[in-house]
């Protein structure tokens, strides 16, 4: 009886639990609400993308941009193909502009300082406070802003005039030495215009023209166009610099001039070139004094090499010399700028590959800003308005700037971020992000690019143009415009453009079509001007610049590809983007030559104290083979005290190591000014490197070739009807220990094909015939393909085989593809701790391999974009216990998230190491999560993920084709990486279609597949990098 009772009780308990479970499950389901539009905008169809053209404003280059929006939110930034500046591409900074838009640390609304905290203001109150403060300042107020060529500059100038405000225009990377040289030589305050697309021979003197210098996306695109191997021709690029940045890693020859002597090399080259062309121009007297032997000797560069470079500069096709950049702005930087002009003049390049731009508005130099700081300190500035520059961060003398700001009774900042300077303001008037704002920008002569809002503002911000107009109204100032809003003002200004363009028709119609196009290009774009230069000034310093200080190493500071001058440091995508050279994330490293590091007993991650007369910082070491032994380098852009959660306290601000020394010739900051001492602290910390590998350790992962070998390989007849045969298993005799077959893949004996059939052709055919399935050797022969068991689903043989080619000759390592991939695919940001534990998630990574000679000297660098190879015979697939990793009939190696249970077997079995595991669920703090691509699942903890070839874009193209009743067109599907690549290195398509671009490119004689001897049959086909025969190149 008792036992029965127990059972009944148990039974009732279980029943109760089951009932409670049912009730809880019922309650837990909060009904999901569907909120309709009140009035649906005409251009919005829910579930489809709307694209807007605008202009990137993350750096002064002004690339045309196309922004994809979904349901009113910007989700992806891409280049505008109509723009000659971006050619449809963007760099990593442009890709990450969405992180500026959705930055959770943006100032949400107008705020006024109240003691240590901030009080919320309505915009009406805020504008009144601004107008009142300007009234009190009585015509002595100063507006400090960046140059913004276009309507904004005109409005600000007019406004300053009407309000009696002094305008100071400042940009930390304004290339004052070049401006000074052009003022002296051409009588214009301007910068040069370049045409890299015609320059087959380029010499750079510290100009990082693929990273931050003037117009990096355009220059990188044009550089690759002119230099990459094509039709038997291959350009040459020589970089003269003590420290190799990303741009210099792409050079065929590195002349490691001592810091402070680049101008000597430039002068020696100019003299050597002038001797050969007999055209010294106005610089004849200057070049007369140049002794090439002595000058190159003083710079530590071999004279023979200089002679070779000069020979080629004259005879090696069209040439171009560029410089100086931020990294070569030493005390003789103006001499260097003059010498670069002389070199271009002597070779007849002026008017062909380079010419002076038109005179621009007046700018303030670093020295000019220092004067303003002094005025502020002396209490002569009653009100300061700041829009853009961040003097507390940008200048070496932070204490002086801080004191100066403290002495100003009223500071208003228009910055959208609480950076170091705006944190000291009294009134915050946060501007819209450029993706929320109307505007325009004239990046170069002849290009008028529009900025239009792609979505409603995320926060309660207001366009500075509107604030200025309102302040003028409140102050009773008469502006030469009747416009009520900045949008009206902009349209007013563009009526002039309409008149100048001379397009027929009404303005309103033209305005709409121009907005759709994004920009107007007028006839004066890229119109070379062959202007004769005047004689260089007499007082230019010609001697080598000895650096001050008693340290034993020269200190070079250089701009950051990721953060520019530091303004973009609060973008988590950029923080987590490995630096293209050091592969370090979320911080700063000091770059030291391995030999110097050995002497000091330093390995990567050792913390050292770097001391200069300007200051001391503690920073981890990275051993950089591409730097002189007597030099160290530190990147700018980190070490913020403000800006936001991602920027604060990451790395160090290298400008703090410098003294405020200004070049009397240009007024620019002398950045290469001091020696530094490096003292090991004895401590070591694991650093957030994405990779510490310097070389490929002889593993033959990437291959290079020479011009002659590439020509020969391309000449071999390609037989379109080559038999589809499986690649024979390499003879076991030829295998090396460990099972890896390391022999040259092109050797006819190994490939099994006659010399008249290109071996890769057969590989391509194999893919085409079999749909990429398991090309393993089967005893019955090729007729039995595909082997049984490799053919899933109910598909027909006319499925495409998606494949990709990556031309390593066109990859400059800029990593724009990487950020594009992060943005497109909702990839989580793991933060510095987890990066140092190797838990970084980046579906696409750029392997940077130095080619070191026996002495450890770099002979060249190769960038290998490594992503899921979508193997036809994928090692990851058979080991998955739950079929989460499997092969699709259209040739994709799929990862099905809802099946994945996180065993990680697939990653262990992947020879390419391109599968990434979510060790945690990573979060996107509001409103960063607004950016998430609604077409891609967000993964959580415990899920394996990897490159999908942007399957959402493939499916979307397939859907559109189906709706229109046509097949998918070649080139219609662009994965995010291929879309943004400035070098156009990546081609994607259906390799089964012999007419597709990807099939044609993969038929190149340079094609190979990484680790193909593992018989993985990858769907990613690489093209060998062409290494100059003279630089030790060989066909490998």
């Amino acid at each position: 009886m008792s036992s029965n009772g127990m059972e009944r009780r148990n039974f009732l308990k279980v029943l109760g639990v089951a009932g409670a479970g049912a009730a809880m499950a019922g309650c837990a389901r909060e009904p999901e609400r569907l909120i309709p539009y009140l009035v649906q905008p005409e251009e919005v169809v829910p579930g489809t993308s709307t694209w807007y053209r605008t202009t990137c404003r993350e750096c002064p280059a002004g690339c045309g941009m196309t922004v994809r929006t979904r349901e009113g939110r910007a989700v992806k930034a891409e280049g505008n193909p109509e723009s000659p500046i971006s050619s449809g591409r963007l760099c990593a900074r442009g890709q990450a502009s969405l992180h500026g838009l959705y930055d959770p640390d943006r100032i949400p609304q107008a705020l006024a300082r109240e003691g240590e905290s901030w009080a919320r203001l309505s915009w009406d109150q805020a504008e009144q406070q601004l107008a009142d403060a300007l009234g009190r300042a009585g015509g002595n107020a100063v507006l400090l802003s960046r140059p913004e060529p276009g309507s904004m500059d005109r409005l600000v100038d007019d406004w300053c005039q009407a309000m009696g405000v002094r305008r100071v225009v400042f940009d930390p990377f304004d290339h004052e030495p070049i401006r000074a040289a052009y003022r002296a030589l051409y009588g214009r305050d301007t910068l040069p215009v370049h045409d890299f697309s015609r320059a087959e021979f380029v010499v750079s003197f510290g100009a990082d023209f693929m990273e931050t210098w003037l117009s990096p996306v355009q220059y990188a695109h044009d550089f690759v166009q002119a230099q990459a191997y094509a039709g038997g021709r291959h350009g040459r690029f020589v970089s003269v610099t003590p420290h190799q940045s990303l741009t210099d890693l792409n050079a065929d020859t590195w002349l490691a001039a001592r810091p402070g002597t680049e101008h000597l090399v430039a002068l020696a080259l100019a003299r050597l070139v002038a001797d050969r062309t007999g055209h010294a121009g106005a610089a004849a007297a200057l070049l007369e004094e140049v002794d090439p032997g002595a000058y190159t000797g003083a710079a530590g560069v071999s004279q023979d090499q200089a002679v070779l470079v000069a020979e080629e500069f004259v005879n090696g096709g069209r040439s171009l010399a560029v410089g100086p950049g931020v990294a070569s702005s030493h005390a003789a930087a103006v001499t260097l700028a003059v010498a670069v002009v002389a070199l271009n003049e002597a070779a007849g390049n002026v008017g062909r590959t380079v010419w002076p731009g038109p005179a621009g508005p007046e700018r303030t130099t670093h020295a000019g800003l220092a004067t303003l700081i002094e005025e502020m300190r002396a209490g002569q500035v009653p009100a300061l308005l700041v829009r853009g520059p961040n003097p507390l961060y940008d200048l070496p003398s932070a204490d002086a700037a801080r004191e100066a700001l403290d002495a100003v009774p009223f500071i208003a900042s228009f910055s959208p971020w609480l950076d170091e300077t705006s944190a000291r303001a009294h009134l915050l008037l946060p501007d819209h992000h450029f993706l929320e704002a109307w505007g325009d920008y004239d990046p170069v002569p002849g290009v008028h690019s529009l900025v239009q809002p792609v979505m409603t503002p995320v926060f309660q911000t207001k366009h500075t143009g509107d604030v200025l107009l309102s302040a003028a109204r409140r102050g009773g100032a008469a502006l030469p415009t009747q416009a009520a809003t900045y949008y009206d003002y902009l349209r007013e200004q563009w009526r002039d453009v309409h008149g100048r363009v001379g397009s027929p028709g009404q303005f309103d119609e033209w305005w709409v079509t121009t907005l759709q196009k994004g920009l107007v290009v007028t006839g004066d774009y890229q119109q070379p001007e062959a202007l004769a230069a005047a004689a260089p000034p007499q007082d230019l310093p010609l001697e080598p610049q000895a650096l001050a200080g008693d340290g034993e190493l020269h200190l070079v500071v250089y701009p950051s590809y990721r953060f520019y001058d530091g303004r973009l440091a609060n973008r988590p995508w950029l923080q987590e983007l490995p630096d293209p050279v050091s592969k370090h994330t979320w911080g700063t490293v000091v770059e030291i030559n391995p030999r110097t590091a050995d002497e000091l007993g330093l390995d990567n991650g050792h913390l050292v104290e770097v001391s200069t007369p300007g200051g001391t910082v503690e920073v981890p070491v990275w051993r950089h083979p591409g730097i002189r032994e007597d030099t160290i380098a530190i990147q700018l852009g980190q070490g913020h005290e403000g800006m936001g959660r991602y920027a604060r306290d990451k790395g160090i601000n290298a400008i703090r190591l410098l003294d405020p020394i200004y070049d009397p010739h240009s007024g620019g900051l002398v950045r290469v000014q001091t020696m530094a001492s490096v003292v090991p602290t004895g401590r070591w910390e694991r650093q957030p490197f994405s990779s510490e590998q310097l070389t490929q350790q002889g593993r033959n992962i990437f291959r290079t070739t020479t011009v002659a070998a590439a020509v020969e390989a391309d000449r071999r007849p390609v037989l379109p009807s080559a038999p589809a045969a499986p690649r024979p298993d390499p003879d076991p005799e030829e295998r090396e220990p460990g099972g890896l077959h390391m022999g040259p893949p092109d050797a006819p004996a190994e490939s099994g094909y006659g010399v008249h059939v290109h071996p890769n052709e057969a590989v391509v055919h194999q893919l085409q015939e079999t749909g990429g399935f398991a090309p393993v050797a089967v005893p019955s022969g090729p007729a039995d393909y595909p082997p049984p068991g490799t053919h899933y689903g109910e598909y027909t043989e006319d499925q495409p085989r998606w494949a990709m080619t990556i031309d390593m000759e066109r990859c400059i390592g800029c990593s724009a593809c990487l950020t594009a991939c992060q943005a497109e695919n909702n990839i989580g940001m793991v933060g510095p701790e987890l990066v140092s534990q190797g838990r970084l998630i980046q579906w696409l990574r750029i392997e940077r391999y130095f080619d070191l000679d026996g002495d450890g000297e770099p002979e060249g660098t190769t960038f290998l974009p490594m992503l899921c190879q979508h193997c036809g015979n994928a090692p990851c697939e058979p080991v998955c216990p739950v079929y989460a990793s499997y092969h699709t009939p259209d040739g994709l190696n799929a990862q099905v998230y809802n099946r994945c249970v996180g065993t990680r077997y697939c990653s262990n079995n992947c020879p390419y190491k391109v599968r990434y595991f979510n060790y945690f669920s990573y979060d996107w703090p509001e409103p960063l999560n607004w950016q998430l691509n609604p077409d891609v699942s967000v993964r959580e903890r415990g899920i394996m993920e990897k490159c999908t070839f942007c399957v959402q874009r493939i499916r979307d193209a397939e859907h559109q084709a189906r709706l229109q009743g046509r097949p998918v067109r070649d080139g219609e599907i662009l994965p995010a990486c291929a879309q943004t690549c400035p070098g156009n290195a990546i081609v994607f398509g259906n390799i089964k279609d012999p007419n597709s671009r990807v099939a044609q490119v993969s038929s190149s004689g340079r094609s190979f597949r990484v680790l193909e001897d593992l018989n993985t049959a990858p769907g990613v086909i690489y093209l060998k990098k062409v290494v100059d025969d003279r630089a030790g190149g060989a066909d490998l």
């Binding site: 999901e32 829910p46 699942s937």
Partner: protein, 170 residues
């Protein structure tokens, strides 16, 4: 012994019943902030589904009609017209005049990791009712089909559509 097994079996049955009742593959009628009688609109008046859910033939999403679409018939130009004296339309008028949206309760939902392009199914000639049930007879909207993967796959197999995982899950 035998009774033990029987009770254990009973427990299993009841637990499963609990799961079925709660987690259910289909749900009953779902009350909405405004009673929207699909039977009157799509049944009596024969308004085509795509009149209101217009993006179903060109987008992955069928879309919820904007308030403007409701007002187009019931309140053209702000003047009550169709069924002006119905209590529900009076509520609608209040929403519209206040410039507020109706917070509809979602009835059909697929998991976030499943992608369902409406337009391909509409273009392929499927009737809306094949997935959404006899909407034209429903006074209150309810989910009729299970919308689970086996249900999708069954139809895909029968109609020779793609059944590859990566077609819907990415």
């Amino acid at each position: 012994m035998g009774r033990g097994i029987l009770i254990a079996l009973g427990v299993v049955v009841i637990v499963m019943l609990g799961i079925v009742i709660a987690g259910g593959t289909t749900r009953g009628p779902v009350e909405q902030p405004i009673p929207f009688p699909h039977d009157v609109h799509a049944g009596t008046h024969q308004i085509p589904c795509l009149y209101c859910h217009s993006s179903a033939e060109r987008s992955i999403s069928a879309g919820i009609p904007s308030m403007e679409v409701c007002a187009g018939c019931h309140l053209p130009g702000g003047v009550p017209l169709v069924a002006a004296d119905s209590p529900a339309v009076r509520v609608l008028t209040a929403y519209w005049n206040a410039g507020e949206q109706i917070p509809w309760v979602r009835v059909h939902k697929l998991p976030d990791h499943a992608r369902f392009p409406h337009m391909l199914h509409v273009v392929a000639g499927l009737e809306c009712q094949e997935c959404h049930g006899p909407v034209e007879t429903m006074a209150v909207m309810e989910q009729v089909e299970s919308l689970n993967m086996g249900w999708c796959i069954q139809c895909h197999r029968e109609s020779d559509a793609r059944t590859d995982c990566f077609v819907c899950h990415y």
